[in-house]
Symmetry: C2
Subunit: 145 residues, 2 copies
DNA sequence: CAAGAAACTTTGGCGCGGCTAACTTTCTTC
DNA sequence: GAAGAAAGTTAGCCGCGCCAAAGTTTCTTG
């Protein structure tokens, strides 16, 4: 059995990179340094060094000048992150929050939600979808400033 | 009129400090460096330098070796932060999430919630309090793993 | 296939927010 | 009021995650 390095939980930055990389792969078939950089609005230099780090951590395979692919562990992690992002977005969408605001808030909050909190929000979202009257009430409260 | 420095929005660290400082003042009457340090589980040295910075930003008055008091601006900001923290805690409490988890999650998320999202959560919390049946349903879903 | 363009990497640097160690000031206690 | 304890400060350092500038590799195109 290969020895696992101690590995602390992924930082917010690591989660952001994985999320974008998976999205690029799912939509374009591959993830280039230049695209990751544009997507995250950071420099290519920053992307290169993070990609090297993610390779060292076993989350992706990186070949200098040639590109990268997620490992099984990296893809699994990335899918969890994406799922969490989607659940949060769905929940706030249900509350009628503006898309721009949702994007901003989810981007910041997603890294700090525990699995159990996420499950609770998921259950709540499901329950609320069946209570449009309640949601309408919330909207009224908000519209009344 | 004094010229306002450009001043970016407060960092998460700044918000954490203000939150603890206000809490100490409200409960003990004053906030000493040593207490802030214990409360945030960081060194006194770190607190000293942050306090100097908060003074420079006009959020508190600091007198070397003698202590500190919040300015009007600092207290107002701190109360907003505390209010936000409390709303989030109340909301998750309603969902039946474990206290430890709430504490952890709120600590991380609170810095990333827009006012409009906060208002929506507040309205939702109010509406949900009147729907114990719905909340029970959420609990059932969660208990069923 | 040569040469310019585009992509990528390396190097060195910076700000933030922490730290320890050493020092100074203030408080306490006898 | 002297001396030790406690609180506070300063100096110097570190890791993270970003950057610009310069160098290297790969792609494109006439």
């Amino acid at each position: 059995m290969p020895r696992k390095p101690p590995s602390r939980p992924p930082s917010s930055a690591v989660e952001d990179y994985l999320e974008r990389i998976l999205d690029l792969i799912d939509t374009k078939g591959y993830a280039r340094v230049v695209d990751i950089a544009k997507s995250l609005r950071i420099s290519q230099a920053s992307v290169t060094s993070m990609v090297q780090r993610l390779d060292a951590e076993g989350l992706l395979h990186y070949e200098k000048y040639r590109g990268l692919v997620l490992t099984a562990a990296g893809e699994k992690l990335a899918r969890n992150i994406t799922h969490r992002h989607q659940l949060l977005t769905d929940f706030f969408k249900l509350l009628g929050i503006d898309d721009e605001v949702i994007y901003h808030d989810v981007e910041g909050m997603e890294h700090h939600i525990s699995p159990s909190t996420l499950r609770a929000l998921e259950a709540l979202t499901t329950a609320l979808r069946r209570q449009p009257a309640l949601l309408a009430k919330v909207q009224n409260t908000l519209d009344a400033h």
